[in-house]
Amino acid sequence: GQQVMQIPQYQHVQEGEDFTTYCNSSTTLSNIQWYKQRPGGHPVFLIQLVKSGEVKKQKRLTFQFGEAKKNSSLHITATQTTDVGTYFCAPGRNTNAGKSTFGDGTTLTVKP
């Protein structure tokens, strides 16, 4: 499967601060998905980006897909304690027989 690098690995913020995680690939991606895993939970699908330069919003979360479709970012505005967890990106597969891969994730902690 296609490999992606996710940075940073950890991020500690004060509640109300913004947060961004980045997902970078050396190759062009067909699409990218984002997932959130709460502590003790399982990954939950958040969104998929397909088009070059695409920007999607979900309340305080903004997802972007780069113009070259080689990178993506997830930005959270004014973090809350409910945002705590690990955020993973997952590049799309080219065929059903292709391996699924995930970035290593960014773990966000929020200090109240």
């Binding site: 399982h42 059903n96 699924s100 891969t101």
Partner: protein
């Protein structure tokens, strides 16, 4: 909502035992996956299946096998459990290529 059910939340087995982890999805999804998740190592793909009776190796298939006799059920088998297979095991299903993964709640397996 799609449900992916893993048979056990916690499991303790002895070294050398044959272990079966069961996963069932209820929404006629084509693709199913088994991952293990260890601290600092992210989500690693063990095996996946894109059709009944089909199976493909993931990145770390050694020591594992799988079975998909029916579309809704995907079983992970540890032929002879070893302590280094102590981990969180996550099953996921996908409606089709790049539809997004739906994860089960996970099975935390301890091999003693």
């Amino acid at each position: 909502d799609v449900k992916v059910t893993q048979s056990s939340r916690y499991l303790v087995k002895r070294t050398g035992e044959k272990v079966f982890l069961e996963c069932v999805q209820d929404m006629d999804h084509e693709n199913m996956f088994w991952y293990r998740q260890d601290p600092g190592l992210g989500l690693r793909l063990i095996y996946f299946s894109y059709d009944v009776k089909m199976k493909e190796k993931g990145d770390i298939p050694e020591g594992y096998s799988v079975s998909r006799e029916k579309k809704e059920r995907f079983s992970l088998i540890l032929e002879s459990a070893s302590t280094n297979q102590t981990s969180m095991y996550l099953c996921a299903s996908e409606k089709g290529l790049n539809y997004g993964y739906t994860f089960g709640s996970g099975t935390r397996l301890t091999v003693v």
